[in-house]
């Protein structure tokens, strides 16, 4: 079930109402049943995969806790990790490996070809396997008690708001909340609903509108001039943010309405002044997962500077691969790894240059330039994230740089409109008005998020006069109704992972 679907419009209030009406000891059961229903809306029988990993991890958790011998503890942990990674490998990476083996075999003219599996990737697989793994790891580290209640543990993995695209929760933050008696809390309910509306606005008004521009260009980049490729890439930078952070806002908001607080997943990432800062603000639940369960176990920066750099690179490589079984994701992850390494290695030199040029008086100007550079770097890397294959990615990357000079050089001879910036999808009829809407909504989003940053989350709205507040609420809801895009039932981008 999609958050931006009619089904969810019915599902959410019904489930929330039931949640508050039912006695406390029944709530977990109702939430679990609702989560199963939510998941089975996609491919019903894939719930068996989830069930298998839930059973394995549930018993693994108990057995890990029972063991006093560290070796035996580790054995159960490894078993649990193998079960989770195994499922992930079969459904997500098996075909990728076979495909590459076949390519190599064909290159050397070996008469050798393996069949691909005819399977569809279960929705949100990478998310819930990572969440399940964080449970057994935390139990083995002694940071979390093994959950004895099978239903509550199953709910921890399947909790519908964050089942298919996170935030990837830690057991310490989530499990205890399912045991707690939540009562109707005005601030949580209204705050959650507002966050949901904000997320929905980002998804259906901004992200889905941008998709109408981005999709044709990325599907067939060769048919578009460089300027279209440049614009489509910048648009995708906002699309993916609004899509994913919109999803997270709806997930966090829906959960908050019931009094269950999920971790923050985004913190205005495009205001970052370095790549390192960007990764502290983008998909926080995943980057901290990699930090806690991969980077630190690899040795972090404790084993020397160069080993630390290698560890960073490994984390980004794996992170890229986590997103998808395609070389484009590997390149995307590696690019970020390179950015980060370059940033770390040259940090001292760059600081000296920055001080020399801007000094302390023009600190803000220097910061703005840094934010712009980070935005540009992130934007470029998204090319590899969004492109369907490496050929298209390389073509787009090349034209991303030549697009603007090519366009400017054409203006003298052919006028400003010599290259129609982007061929519009036929469903959106007035191109210039769509550009206007995009500009208005992106600007509004940036202003709102900037104000949130300055004045502490949603508190800044609360502090306003009721008339101003209500005008803003109506403006938001009416924007969703009048300008949202519903005709395609657009999935969230991160559902594919």
């Amino acid at each position: 079930m999609l958050f931006n679907s009619f089904s969810f419009l019915i599902f959410f209030p019904v489930i929330t109402l039931l949640y508050f009406v039912l006695p406390y000891n029944m709530r977990w059961l109702m939430l679990l049943a609702a989560s199963c229903f939510f998941y089975m809306f996609f491919v019903p029988y894939y719930i068996i995969i989830l069930l298998v990993t839930i059973v394995v991890d549930y018993f693994a958790g108990i057995l890990i806790e029972k063991q006093t011998d560290q070796k035996k503890k580790k054995r159960w942990l490894v078993l649990s990790i193998i079960a989770n990674v195994g499922v992930l490998f079969v459904f997500k990476y098996f075909n990728f490996f076979i495909d590459n083996i076949n390519t190599v075999a064909a290159f050397f003219h070996w008469n050798y070809s393996l069949d691909l599996l005819k399977i569809v990737l279960p929705i949100g697989l990478s998310f819930h396997t990572f969440q399940a793994m964080s449970y057994t790891i935390e139990v083995s580290r002694g940071n979390q008690k093994a959950e004895r209640h099978f239903g509550i543990y199953a709910l921890y993995v399947m909790y519908y708001p964050q089942l298919v695209a996170g935030p990837i929760e830690r057991p310490q933050n989530l499990l205890w909340q399912f045991h707690k008696k939540h009562s109707f809390n005005y601030d949580d309910v209204t705050g959650g609903l507002k966050q949901m509306a904000w997320g929905l606005l980002k998804k259906v008004v901004i992200a889905d509108r941008l998709a109408e521009f981005v999709n044709p260009v990325y599907t067939d980049p060769h048919s578009f001039p460089g300027i279209s490729i440049f614009i489509a890439t910048v648009f995708f930078t906002f699309q993916i943010y609004c899509d994913f952070s919109g999803y997270s806002d709806i997930a966090i908001g829906a959960s908050r309405v019931m009094g269950i607080h999920l971790m923050k997943n985004f913190n205005k990432p495009y205001f970052s002044s370095s790549i390192a800062e960007f990764w502290k603000r983008w998909h926080v639940s995943l980057s901290t997962w990699f930090r806690d369960y991969l980077y630190i176990p690899l040795g972090g920066n404790r084993k020397g500077k160069w080993r630390g750099y290698l560890n960073i690179f490994i984390v980004f490589l794996v992170s890229g691969f986590w997103h998808g079984a395609n070389w484009t994701f590997v390149v995307w992850g590696s690019l970020h790894g390179i950015y980060l390494l370059f940033g770390s290695i040259t940090h001292a030199v760059r600081e000296k240059i920055r001080l020399a040029i801007f000094g302390n008086k023009m600190k803000n100007l220097g910061k703005i330039i840094q934010v712009a550079v980070v935005f540009f770097l992130v934007c470029f890397a998204w090319i590899f994230f969004r492109a369907e294959n490496m050929d298209k990615a390389l073509y787009i990357a090349k034209n991303f740089f030549t697009g603007i000079p090519e366009y400017i050089s054409g203006i003298g001879k052919k006028g400003f409109l010599w290259a129609e910036p982007i061929v519009m999808n036929r469903y959106l009829k007035a191109v210039w008005f769509e550009y206007f809407l995009i500009a208005v909504f992106i600007f509004a989003m940036l202003v709102v998020e900037f104000l949130q940053k300055k004045q502490g989350g949603y508190l800044w709205i609360k502090a306003k006069h009721p008339a101003v507040r209500w005008t803003m609420y109506f403006a938001g809801v009416y924007s969703i109704l009048f300008f949202g895009i519903y005709h395609k039932n657009n999935e969230f981008i991160y559902f594919q992972f």
């Binding site: 009619f6 089904s7 019915i10 009562s183 109707f184 809390n185 005005y186 309910v189 209204t190 036929r426 469903y427 959106l428 009829k429 007035a430 008005f433 609420y473 109506f474 809801v477 009416y478 109704l481 009048f482 300008f483 949202g484 895009i485 519903y486 005709h487």
Partner: protein, 335 residues
Amino acid sequence: MSKAQQLKDFSKFLKKVTLFIVVSFPLLYLADIFYSSRVVNKLDEKPMWILSKKNQKYDYAILGSSRAFNNFSVDDADSLMHTKGINLGVSASAFPQNLLCLDQFYRNGNSIKTLIVQVDAKGFQPPSIAYTYPFYDFCYFHLLGKSEFTDSIFKANTPPTLKYYFRRTMPFFKYAEFNNKYPAFHVATRFNYMFEKKNGFDYGSGSKLLTGNQDTEEQYLKSSKEHLALNTQKDTLAVEPEMKNTLIKIVSLARGHNTKVIFFTSPMLSPFNDNAEELYKHVDKIAEANNVTYFKMMKDSVSEFRTLFYDGGHLNKEGAKAFTLRFCRKIISNK
């Protein structure tokens, strides 16, 4: 938190929600009225074009999916037979929508001497499987709640009952759902989009003739192979009883308006027409039982020439002209 506090919180919340609804509903209701006054029957969509026809007399009308809409050239037929015809074919349209269009066409005071219905294997399958968009819901908002519309829409693509109920009762819900078709800016400014005529069909006759050939030789060979492989696995023609009944209803409706009915199956490119005999057998039964003439033209000689096709199921302009000519000859000889 104490129970009293919870109740206090809950009543505070209810008050706010009520206030929001009380303010929202009238505004949305007004927006709904405003939209309706601007857009009903004014969109550049084929069904709305059909609905805009009033008190006209036609010698014949072609009814069906895109294989009627694209494959039959009304202008050519009219100049050959000295008649006045109209093409009521709608892309991806299943029998339920055909029935609704025809019903509305008659209700608007139009008359037809002969109704020529395009019948395909797809027509007998559940519409939501056979067609990507079997029903243009957004063209019939003014009919919401009327039995003839409700019957057709649920036969065609069965939208969730609740969703249909919301469209009917919640102000503006339907326009929000289809706001790609009713963009706020256009509706507000009357930006001519409703009459833009971008759909590329002939706004006189209702036919839409396609240009060139969509598929390369390689694509054609690939899809031919896939088609043959699929057909060897599946021999039987899937028939949804509801669809068969809807076709019979089309015949009855036409008869009720003194219209003669003819069935035809328009050409398909070889080898996509290899299950023609199976379809013929099935349609023959319906045609005989209802005393309808059936022209079996799926394997007509034009189906051997790839140059006359836009894709496997649709003729291009030249193909449509050639087929129309051959069809008219059949009509004349049948007289």
